[in-house]
Symmetry: C2
Subunit: 360 residues, 2 copies
């Protein structure tokens, strides 16, 4: 279908009309106008506030995979070591991507329905001595939230590794303090909590990360280097997308107006409601415990009496779209995405009502 009646996909989420109307603007060239660079800078400051960081913010064009690749390509030379802390598909994905670019990767693995334990990460990191440690804040496919980013950040400092964190599907809906967690490179997508088109990506980069990036000196579309001083130099490696930049501004302003705490509370409430209603109607949570469930996405086992395809077909026939899964979770686990515009208790209630009907 082209449009969801009740959309609870864990990204891309529903883009509010206010955001979509940004495209009605007849913007000038982003390469040339001071107003564009001022907007870019305004977004940098808002992101710093949202993520509680003094680190530099880089806003690039393209889907979030572009910055996941960038975080590895800009920091690792062939043969250099990376430890991917993994309790899910994206966690292991970092190791796969690193290997594909010739780095030497090990994973510190935990079951997909659990979250990383800092002790095991510490042991592994001390022995392995990686140049980079990666972690994933919200494992969207598993519906889990890693609570120990600060601990892993401390470990990274101790073993002198760069700490790279994918918070693509958490930041904005979950309390996150980039500086307290000592995150050197933080990665945020647009089509999740920010409820934008998948056309813009946001990275936070620490001074230490900039040193490594300069040293590695990677070239390509994913290269961070040329983005270090965009508002100051008024120069970018390619023509930016003014509409997406403006849409990001509105999304960030909306979060600030609601208050970061308010936005996080709204996500937690929607998530709790989803879990509560799920329990009521007999759904089984995929994560081992409620404590590690993400406030942005809830993963349930596909009910036993259905195949995923059959279940999904019935939900869709009633206007509800939820997320399926990938890799080893495909067919077994489905997901309710209550992030950004979808972190809405009424919407969750409507969606869960349909699931109840299908299960009845």
């Amino acid at each position: 279908m082209e449009k969801y009646e009740i959309g609870l996909i864990p990204g891309p989420v529903k883009i509010p009309e206010e955001i979509r109307r940004v495209w009605l603007n007849d913007f000038a060239s982003s390469d040339l106008e001071d107003e564009f660079f001022a907007l870019y800078h305004e977004n940098q400051v808002l992101i710093q506030k949202l993520l509680r960081t003094k680190n530099n913010v880089v806003i690039t064009s393209g889907e979030a995979m572009s910055i996941l690749w960038a975080s590895l390509k800009c920091t690792l030379k062939p043969g250099e070591k990376i430890l991917a802390v993994s309790s899910g598909l994206f966690g292991s994905g970092f190791a796969d991507m690193a290997r594909a670019i010739g780095a030497y990767a090990e994973t510190c693995e935990f079951p997909y329905d659990e979250v990383p334990e800092p002790e095991k990460v510490y042991e592994h990191a001390k022995k392995f001595r990686p140049k980079v440690i990666t972690a994933v804040h919200c494992e969207t496919p598993s519906g889990t939230l890693t609570p120990c980013l600060a601990e892993i950040g401390k470990i990274a400092r101790e073993v002198e590794a760069l700490f790279v964190v994918d918070f693509v599907s958490s930041a904005g809906g979950v309390e996150l303090d980039v500086d307290a967690c000592k995150i050197d490179i933080g990665l945020l997508g647009s089509q999740k909590v920010l409820s934008l088109t998948p056309s813009i990506s946001i990275s936070t980069i620490s001074p230490h990360a900039w040193q490594i990036i300069n040293d590695v000196n990677y070239s390509g579309y994913e290269a961070f280097a040329d983005w270090r001083e965009v508002p100051e130099k008024k120069f970018m490696p390619y023509t930016h997308d003014w509409h997406s930049m403006k849409a990001l501004n509105i999304s960030l302003e909306n979060i600030m107006n609601e208050g970061i705490d308010g936005a996080c509370a709204r996500h937690s409430e929607a998530a709790k409601l989803c879990r509560d209603l799920g329990r009521e109607i007999g759904l089984e949570l995929f994560p081992k415990s409620e404590e590690i469930c993400s406030p942005t996405v809830t993963a349930f086992y596909v009910p036993e009496k259905f195949t995923w395809e059959n279940f999904n077909e019935r939900l869709r026939a009633r206007g509800l779209a939820v997320g399926g899964n990938y890799g080893s979770l495909a067919g077994k686990v489905f997901r309710i995405g209550h992030m950004g515009s979808q972190a809405d208790s009424d919407l969750v209630r409507r969606g869960m009502k349909i699931i109840r009907e299908v299960l009845a």
Copy 2:
């Protein structure tokens, strides 16, 4: 300024309201819906028609620099040889980019106000035996159009090199036959003739290019490999931008409705008018002759009695935005972009009237 009264920038060009209104759609997830993959396929077919090719078409998310990088990264391993045919900034840019990724690049250079001569390219290619030969159809900074793509394509075949062509700012406004020119990888941007946001990029890829791409086996956001069978496999390496895909569809349909010949004639007329009016008011063309001027962009020397900054300020004070320049042409050559929505004789006349006033 945020908006141009009279916009004649050579890209990003003015986005027609019909295109901008696409974003009012509340689209579903591009990862999941058959309608998205059908739209993707429809665009592939329209692009094949527009560019007269049977080659596979790949439509990715991100600005056109992403596919310029992709064309090199996916076809060259470190140390492999590339010959960049260059009569301008983008021509030489290919060599710079290739060197940055460890390839061995030579340029077959021509003055920026001229176009490549096939004889010289042939001599160079025969001696150098490159794996890849690159060329640029329209050198936007110089306002020139390379007329000898077919000849260079023939040379590439003879020396068994892959032929990569940047037609980012020409295709759609200039007659182009990808298959007759034996173009293995062709690169088209969205914010030029297609008059879209700079959020989507289009590549044509020949069977021979796919062989090389498979052999090189490059990984990253710029990797072409995973895009080979998108509508067939209904899988993409990242979430695509449905709005941009739909906007592309409307832009291509509009060209088809006008007719490719009609669109090309409209560009030629606007360009001729621009040159004629320029001559009338005493502007000097940058290209050595009218024959090599691009139908999409006209480059004039900055009039002697002005600095570029001073001239530009006066034009802008009257509501006209034109393009400045880069590299060795900065401050010396300015450009009128009459491509896509701006290939409009009335608009060109209004713009040139303002230049006449400023020169008076």
